[in-house]
Symmetry: C2
Subunit: 423 residues, 2 copies
């Protein structure tokens, strides 16, 4: 780890950071080589997931490090003591901008990607002659707001079929570009699909959309906290995210980043005083009445945690874990890995099938027999098992899950195994 980088980080952000974060940065600095197991053991020690539980569903919801929980609890107690709130918008926006390569003025804080996407879908002047183009790999949170807005406005919602296992980014780009007919007013796509963890070529698509005068609304629920993200370099019109996934913010913490045009151009969906004061820019949309400010405190702590770990280091670690998982899965008889293996397409979510075993049955077995939490991608009839690997997961956990799946592959599911646990 680069000592100067830490010193700079700690020095510049000391006022905004929650208590304990600078101390954690120094502790990590002293914990052996920055990509070594000792370093990651210290990281793991920041979480309160019980050691006997293997949590492989960050793609649905992250588990928060203690520094985030502490920030939430501290803020909750402040409010109960009738003290004024402790988070300043500017601190939060500044920290996020530094993490995500963005302009602090572009951030809005809805509760999740669904709400962020709803703000965009209702906020645009969609009309009867417009088409919104989406895909068959979109999450309900990135899809249903468009379906609702199109239904009400008489616009058309069209889906392009994306290959589940694309060979390379060009294949994905060409498929989407080919579907971008002249009637398309909005392209609504995932940055990283929830179905397979596939990274879409967003920057190239954004350039294409600008050329064609198409509004590009990106569902970025997953990347922040999983991959290094530079929002301004990506260049879409709007970027919706759920920091309560990979960024490990508290449950119910969303994010919407607006390019300059839409900071004054989007109509407010939730409207409190100032919603139509265009001088406020994107911040207008944060005027939504009394919000739970502990989400902001928790998000600020989560961003600090992510900056201390470093997005590039996190990405390397997650690639190590998902690479180990993928290699192991490939060696199990009957496993078919759905997620693309191309290095520019793959991420920390891996989807697969096991021949002869339905995903929900495998999921129940892993939960009941091994306390492993997973996600089944039942959407669109896919029936895939999805495993998310994050910084709190270990190589040993990956091996445990591989061993469990291998035994099912070789011997089938136990006839009357232990039941219970959770799906």
């Amino acid at each position: 780890m680069d000592r100067r980088r830490f010193v700079t980080l700690v020095g510049s952000a000391a006022l905004a950071w929650p208590r304990g974060l600078a101390a954690l940065a120094r502790r990590l600095e002293d914990s052996g080589p920055p990509d070594g197991e000792e370093f990651w053991q210290v990281v793991r020690s920041q979480f309160s997931i019980p050691p006997e539980r293997v949590y492989l569903n960050t793609g649905t919801l992250g588990a928060q490090p203690r520094i985030v929980v502490d920030a939430v609890v501290e803020h909750t107690r402040r409010v109960a003591e009738s003290l004024p709130p402790g988070v300043r918008w500017d601190d939060l926006k500044g920290e996020l901008a530094a993490l995500l390569g963005a302009d602090p003025a572009g951030f809005v804080f809805p509760r999740n990607t669904t709400e962020a996407t709803s703000f965009v879908a209702w906020g645009l002047p969609l009309g009867r002659r417009d088409t919104v183009l989406t895909s068959d790999h979109e999450h309900v949170g990135g899809l249903e707001p468009w379906r609702a807005a199109c239904a009400r406005r008489g616009a058309e919602l069209r889906r392009v079929h994306l290959p589940a296992t694309p060979a390379d980014p060009d294949e994905l780009f060409d498929v989407v570009a080919g579907a971008l007919t002249d009637d398309v007013r909005v392209l609504a796509l995932s940055h990283l699909t929830f179905t397979t963890g596939t990274v879409l070529p967003v920057a190239r698509l954004a350039r294409l959309c600008r050329e064609r005068d198409v509004i590009f609304a990106v569902d970025g629920a997953h990347p922040p906290g999983m991959l290094p993200v530079n929002l301004d370099a990506l260049g879409g019109d709007t970027y919706a995210s759920s920091p309560h996934k990979w960024l490990l913010a508290p449950q119910g913490t969303g994010l919407l980043y607006l390019s300059e045009r839409w900071r004054s151009g989007l109509h407010a969906t939730l409207a409190s005083g100032g919603w139509d004061n265009l001088e406020l820019g994107a911040h207008r949309l944060n005027h939504m009445g009394t919000i739970d400010e502990s989400r902001l405190a928790g998000l600020l702590a989560a961003v600090g945690f992510a900056r201390v770990l470093g997005p590039e280091r996190v990405e390397r670690r997650l690639r190590t874990l998902s690479g180990r998982l993928r290699e192991g899965l490939a060696a199990i008889p009957g496993v078919r890995i759905v997620s693309s293996g191309h290095p520019e397409l793959s991420s920390a979510m891996t989807s697969f099938t096991l021949e002869g075993v339905a995903a929900p049955a495998l999921q129940r077995h892993l939960a009941a027999a091994h306390r492993v939490r997973t996600r089944v991608i039942g959407e669109y009839g896919y029936g895939w098992m999805r495993l998310s690997t994050h910084v709190y997961n270990t190589p040993a956990e990956v091996d445990l899950v591989l061993d469990a799946i291998d035994r099912v592959a070789r011997h089938g599911l136990p006839r009357s195994g232990p039941e219970g646990g959770e799906a």
Copy 2:
């Protein structure tokens, strides 16, 4: 206190109630006469407002009792441990229905009144020929969503002037009824004004609206937790509230109650899977993606707390406190009480002016010199001081504030008094 009532409450709700609530109920039962000071001292001991602070701004945000904070913290820790959430919708809806005289199937849980009102304003099929009638005593949370929807849909928003100090409910009813012309499609009014704490004759107005085929959207931000409320007896079409005020739920906890017609009739504003499944009724609108379930846990605890205290007992206490405040204010030279003194109109919020002293200056003085938190009603140019008295306030606190105001009335504001504190 009626022992059988407690036993019944504790017995029937034991499964849904948070830990500690039954114990609190028994402790209260043993604390002298149910309306005596000892009882209210036990209640006060449930809060963590420091004894040197006088919090008279529940009308903006309540201070949570420890049982609510504990529920929030416990749920936050569960999520951080990757455990599944601990609140069942049915428990929460059932408890609320019991407290508020409502059908459990009618409840939606937005983050506040602003969002609840936005759900209604966008969800109705408002058109170009429609008028929404509101008043000059509406809060931004109950007003701006209508302004936003009318602006976008080309509907008209019209304000009726309400008397600030009405003589009786008839006067209010007649003023509103007189403004209900044939073009009015929606009546959007407060149940209890944030400006003066005046209770509007909602049940009578609801009957009138039914006769005239007008949709009645009630802004009920304040009454739940302050007054006994029977939503079904009130009879409006929609009722928006902010349980983080008088019901003492966590910050960012809202409520929307829909009459049967609108459970399937309102278009979803935030749309996740199932938003258009009309069989889900009002619960469709709770499909808004991943929410912070600690709000639900905290709200459930807050409702339990309110039921243990008893809405009628709370109302008597608040009337005692606000009556003491009002009597004291009336005796101070230069004070003009704006809030109506009629027993059917008055509530636990009291607004007044002090001759020669601007409300913001008085507010700053009370905060800096006496650590008293208040609210200035600057909206609509009114310039009134508003004091909220809730169960954690004491007769001694009321006397302290009266004494402070009396000194300002007699001697003016100190020239260079202590500064700081908060407004």
